[in-house]
Symmetry: D2
Subunit: 286 residues, 4 copies
């Protein structure tokens, strides 16, 4: 039987790294999880157990630690780019490198109303993401940035009505419902060497502004409005990829207890959830 | 064979509840998880399957929803107390009621620098806790408040040295190490009807202040300093129970790569972890 | 700014379902998690909040429950296919339907050496998976089957040597190491209406046989051997997609305690892990 | 302010350990998680940062690894006992040692109908537990054994009726419902040096037998029946501690779709859940 090998890739995932940067008396911490994946010609290892083209994933992890010393103090996009540069160099069997860096949020503890120099508390649930990809032969790497697992809720300005009904539809139309969703976003920059940290903050704020202020007619409607606002307001963006996991909290029926529930008591639910995803792109890029 | 039945209790755990409060144009949300447990004489159900003394846990959940409508807008300690009152009333077989309420953090989204009235983002990892216990015959319930799963890290002012060594000790003494810990705290109030929300904020801030500023010689040392500061600075407290899960990030050895690592690159680790716990009480309570 | 909308899809994920089938005095249970996703023209909902083409995901969940009554007693592949048929019918705006069904393992409790008719215990960690996809215009749906989260370990017959070294390589070559991996597999059937349950058991056993008996020179080597054996021994398969997350347990250094550790005491570790993935296909399909 | 320090304890939790035992050509694996906790006089460390009585938790972990080499090949109860002996010896400040060992299930892969000597697959969700406690001055340690996170379900022979109703009761009485529960059990042995592995299997089987065959009138009823059967049938047991987390799968209402659901389609739910716990003891122990 003749067999072909496709989509072959390998690497190391879940590399945990804490980088401490001392700026005078002020410490900064970056708490990161790094994933490295290589694509290329690894057929001999698969077919014959000949590992001459295989760099151990343990060596990848060591390289992440070593390169972190000098390259992990700036934006995580730059660290991801540096790692792709390293893993592509001098290795002809590697065709493509993908590095993903997730930054776990820590905020400075405030004492006496002032931020501390050396003490931190774990922040929200959402993580900042950077993904860099570099292919042999391409001069420009691809850089994506994003947000993972940001939980948002709005209690006014969201409805869902006028939808398709079939024989299994029991949902009531609503002009006001609670919109509660986990947002996962990834956006692509159209050119490199930009102030990544500043753009991250801008896109994040545009997403929050839109979520808060948009008159939402559906999850799709809100998702698209977020993507459009980001593309319109932050010029280096050429594409936004969004994934919303939504689960409207359910109003609890209190009538068996001779009580009214006028939008006060709800059951939040994690599962099952609606999933809406889309990619929105600028068309005018020639 | 003669058998005795001890420590018999039952209830409902993990009741998820979202309470929306409208104050004019401004909405407030409380995202809660409630656990209810009853102790008492349930032997007939155990021994003979006679359920006449058993209120279904489903009814407990319904009561939590119904009572939430009018009693969940204030401090979670007050909601917990109201629930204990309800579950103890008119039920002679119930000897003791314990209600635990955990509040999941949501913060207002800011747009244009101003907090939104109806839009929220999920805050940190830590949850505010209230526990109320009420026993038949006792006039005063017990109220505990606390913090669950607060992650703290300090990069200066923590050492660990002068400890006991045995034949399995390989750890190096250190004057400066990173202290990284998950804090779980529960404190007891000496009298009821106090401004619980304000005291919660006070104790939380005292814990953060102490963590940041204390010259820590061990996890035990920091734990005790936190408890003492809370007892000294917040008068209604009579007891503080703390549990710290600690795991110092490990310095990565870069010498195989001809590099120095002067306290810059670490591996954070979740497991295994040190666990230190203690209860600190005021002695002068007569 | 002109924007295009790509890769738009939505649906319901995490629908939990327990199907009880009575065959005379013997009960069967299927504990399932179902995900439904639709692709098609939903641009009006995104762009204008016009939801006329949007079937609520709540209706999808209702349909899953309703169709489960008569269609969830056989192989999960057949249930997934039936659901794709339903969601594509009579809805011109839907171009493609994808349904994924995961089956959580329950085994019969044995009492007196005999399997019980009505009592079950939760089995292993791995889940059986079925994925069906159906596109408007295509006569034949695509059916994939698989295994999720199967944890395997072998303590003999696995080495890793002869690999590429760079300046960050510290790993020692080994002729014998413990291979410990989480396996995720998905294979494609070349034609429909086959005995899915029987083929599932065959492929699962082939994977186990290969894992146990293969003289492994690397994770890649074992992955490919599994895929090849499955394609060779189970004719309806045309493609196998494998993903192995591997983390060799680390030998603990006992020399500081004047003890030898000759392959007896290890630290298992979940993170970080190596990831190897590949798709292996039959070439002779014309 | 005068403060007292109570319930002070510390240790190391989550120590992961894989022990490989070679019996001729046949390998055995034990995949363990070990927790160690010491109680005693650690006040100087708390109050003054004087660590002379504090053995680092890192040394505890090293000791677990070192002692595992020679003492982890038998029953986990014996390994736990050996660890308590070690941690109490030669340390006057330690009053009490508690060691908990959890064993994660691995089963031999079968190929050609025969169990393999060196290849394993991860088994069910439940873990075997051993807890040993030893106090200074006591000649006999306390040994508990147990089961953690065993998921059980029965589809016949369980009802819940005749219970107390209040104004919040909406649950319908039932002669037949699905009983689905997570069981956590811990039993105490009345004397040491017994065949722990054999007794573990006996108690586990008695629990399964009782769950399957008992005519259950409530979760309490089943819990007590399990405990009684274990105490009656396995003589060294003097006490059984059970905790059941139960959540009956909910029958789905199909009447909106003009369909009947005669006990076929259910929604399993993890949260919220009923919790029932009790300790059952033999009275005739003098």
């Amino acid at each position: 039987m003749s067999l072909s090998l496709a989509d072959s890739r390998y690497g190391r995932s879940g590399i945990r790294l804490l980088k401490l940067t001392r700026r005078g008396d002020r410490h900064e911490v970056r708490d990161l999880t790094v994933d490295v994946a290589l694509e290329g010609d690894f057929a001999a290892s698969h077919r014959e157990g000949d590992n001459r083209a295989i760099l151990p994933t343990d060596s990848m992890q060591n390289a992440v630690f070593a390169l972190a010393r000098d390259h992990a103090d700036g934006a995580i996009e730059e660290f991801a780019l540096e790692l792709t540069r390293h893993f592509l160099a001098d290795r002809d069997q590697v065709e493509r490198v993908r590095v993903r860096v997730a930054q776990h949020p820590w905020t400075r503890i405030e004492t006496g109303g002032r931020p501390q120099n050396h003490a931190f508390a774990r922040g929200g649930t959402d993580r900042r993401i950077a993904v860099a990809e570099r292919s042999r032969g391409d001069r420009t790497p691809v850089v994506d940035a994003g947000i993972e697992a940001m939980h948002l809720m709005k209690t006014r300005g969201a409805g869902f009505a006028g939808y398709l009904k079939d024989r299994y539809t029991t949902l009531s139309e609503s002009d006001e419902r609670i919109l509660s969703a986990e947002l996962n976003a990834l956006w692509r920059y159209g050119w490199p060497e930009i102030p990544y940290a500043e753009h991250y903050r801008q896109v994040r704020q545009v997403i929050l502004d839109t979520f808060a202020e948009h008159d939402s007619r559906s999850v799709q409607h809100t998702l698209y409005a977020m993507a459009r606002a980001a593309l319109e307001q932050v010029p280096p963006l050429i594409e936004v990829r969004l994934r919303l996991l939504s689960q409207p909290p359910l109003s609890v029926d209190l009538t068996p207890f001779a009580m009214e529930n006028t939008g006060e008591v709800f059951r939040p639910a994690e599962e099952p959830h609606g999933v809406v995803e889309a990619v929105v792109r600028r068309d005018d890029l020639g």
